[in-house]
């Protein structure tokens, strides 16, 4: 094997390495890019019941009075937030195209200020894209002072093009503390640390 053969070979190896490294960096970035992409994909298709977390404007369309859809509201408490969350009515019957307002109350039962976030979900997932939230407490984090009570609205529409097989839509809100913003339970923080170190 001549010197020039060897050099050609080395150049080839270098080229392969650079291409591989480029592919590697690309795929690593791709993995992270998948997070927002997945998010966008889910919101566009509504596949996982994750709803848009920004307000949409009311669309004035003709109310489809021939159709009645039951909308259920479920509130759930994640752990670590001393709040009570209640909905004034557990279910409403409405027509597609109609706009409805439902009130939720939040009360902070602890002696300190805390932040919470209601994470929304929709079932069936196929209905997700057709639930048009005009205003929702779930768009932003909420702060409650000790003992404070807050009533917040959910204003939404069901789009007229809601798939015909859907006659019940369930909106679920799970209340979670906002990490780092809420004061920890009086001494629970210390106890947690102990647990971790043990």
């Amino acid at each position: 094997m001549t010197q020039s053969d060897r050099e050609i070979r080395q150049a080839g190896v270098r080229r392969t390495i650079w291409r591989s490294v480029a592919a590697l960096v690309g795929m690593f970035a791709f993995a992270f890019a998948l997070v927002p992409l997945y998010d966008v994909f889910c919101r566009v298709t509504g596949i996982n019941g994750a709803v848009d977390t920004t307000a949409q404007s009311i669309v004035h369309e003709e109310v489809d009075e021939s159709r009645m859809v039951t909308v259920q509201f479920i509130t759930r408490n994640g752990s670590g937030l001393p709040w009570r969350m209640e909905v004034e009515t557990r279910q409403v019957r409405m027509h597609p195209g109609q706009t409805t307002e439902v009130h939720f109350t939040f009360s902070n039962q602890s002696g300190g200020e805390s932040w919470g976030r209601a994470v929304p979900g929709v079932s069936p997932a196929t209905a997700t894209r057709h639930v048009r939230k005009v205003s929702c407490f779930c768009f932003e984090e909420q702060k409650l002072q000790a003992g404070e009570r807050l009533e917040l609205p959910l204003v939404f529409q069901l789009a007229r093009d809601l798939p015909p097989e859907v006659n019940t839509v369930t909106l679920v809100y799970t209340l979670y503390p906002v990490e780092g913003k809420s004061e920890p339970l009086q001494t629970a923080g210390a106890q947690n640390k102990e647990g971790e170190e043990a």
Partner: protein, 547 residues
Amino acid sequence: MAPKVPPQPTLEQSTSAVDAGHGHHHAHEAPPKGIMRWLLTTNHKEIGSMYLIFSLIMFFIGGIFALVVRLELFQPGLQFVNPEFFNQMTTMHGLIMVFAAVMPAFTGLANWMIPLQIGAPDMALPRLNNFSFWLLPVAFGLLLSTLLMPGGGPNFGWTFYAPLSTTYAPPSTTFFILSLHIAGISSILGAINIIATILNMRAPGMRMMDMPLFVWTWLITSFLLIAVMPVLAGVITMMLMDINFGTSFFNAAGGGDPVLFQHLFWFFGHPEVYIMILPAFGIVSAIIPAFARKRLFGYASMVYATAAIAILSFMVWGHHMFVVGMPLAGQLFFMYATMLIAVPTGVKVFNWVATLFRGSISFEPPMLFALAFVVLFTIGGFSGLMLAIAPADFQYHDTYFVVAHFHYVLVPGAVFAIMAGVYYWLPKWTGHYPNVRLAQWHFWLSVIGVNLTFFPMHFSGLAGMPRRIPDYALQFADFNFVSSLGAFLFGFSQLLFVAVIILCVRGGKKAPAQAWGEFADDLEWSVPSPAPLHTFETPPTFQRPAH
């Protein structure tokens, strides 16, 4: 038919190769002695041997974990270990077998055989090669040490689904992530090296479509590794950030999505499954023609089928997630794509059978394992096809039926292929044939053990036994009893494998250069047995077989 091996006397060729090797290459300086020799070696054969020995040790460690699991499941009730330790054992068994036994074993075979099969003097990047090997003991030493840490080692299954592996994980999880990162880097470096070697170091005259199938399958495997190992690295980095830096990639409380973890994991995980089986296809495609004394049927379609499987593997990850609540369109897409994989896989099986048809077949140890591979891998393929049917998967998912399926693909699939490869190439490595009688015992006990272990799992799964449970309802008792007996039989038979290897290294019937006759005719059989430390320093002239 003319063999691909150049007809000149091989010993002379090799000596002349050694003579020609001085001057422009410093590999012939006296190697360092003792441990330093192994720490610093850049020789592909020595590194290959280290990979193989490492994976064999890990195969036994992972095997011991499996036997702990099978011991606990021997009968209903909790007898030997508590559920917490049981979960650590199932998790560690999976992680060790996948990342520390099967993958390094194939890398070891690649290190040894790819340069020999393409007529290259060494891997393209010998020092990187050394580095990628020595990352492995560090990675898995670290992983095993988590078992001794407070709270124990990983206990969330080898698929480490969030949030069980993040918010609810033991404190040692950060070390688990680190060790997986190191192992991933090792695989990636190995893959780059293999691609660089195959693309640039082939003997003059050897075109891509002349390469042995083991080389082809490893080339495609390497591309898969480069494509998906960074995704795994990305996922575990996100886990690390969720655990330690308060991000919420997979934490619903912070606006994240636990199902996203599964999408990312299986985007890596499904190609990973093929990473563990494609090189096995290559090995079997070398062995069957050798002992059927007939050229491989459909070489080109084998290459295309391998590439097709690799491409499809990126489009089927969702079939691991049929019960997470995907929309109908997603279910249908992943179901159809998964069913499609049966086509190229079927082509491969048909090609092997067609190679056997009207051959002249003998049953040396490598052939025994290769034939068992074809039959048992196909059975695993059948259950895979059943699992692809999404509605039926609602019943199969996460049961012992799945456990049976992937163990059929991985144990009598990947592991048998590795063993077949070891028996096939031992004469080249050691200069001796393996002891036939012992190898036959090893084969038959392994085949019986594997089937006793995994066949009843089909039934226990269909009858309703979920996987990863330390105790079970009484109607599953008989199946589990048989499985446990089989597992111990299989586990202990592997000691015979070690015995065969040790005996073969120390002596045995002398093997000529072309140890398995004229149909084992790839370039590795043109160098003497045992292969000298340095081969092909002068590239051989590749001769294409006449059609």
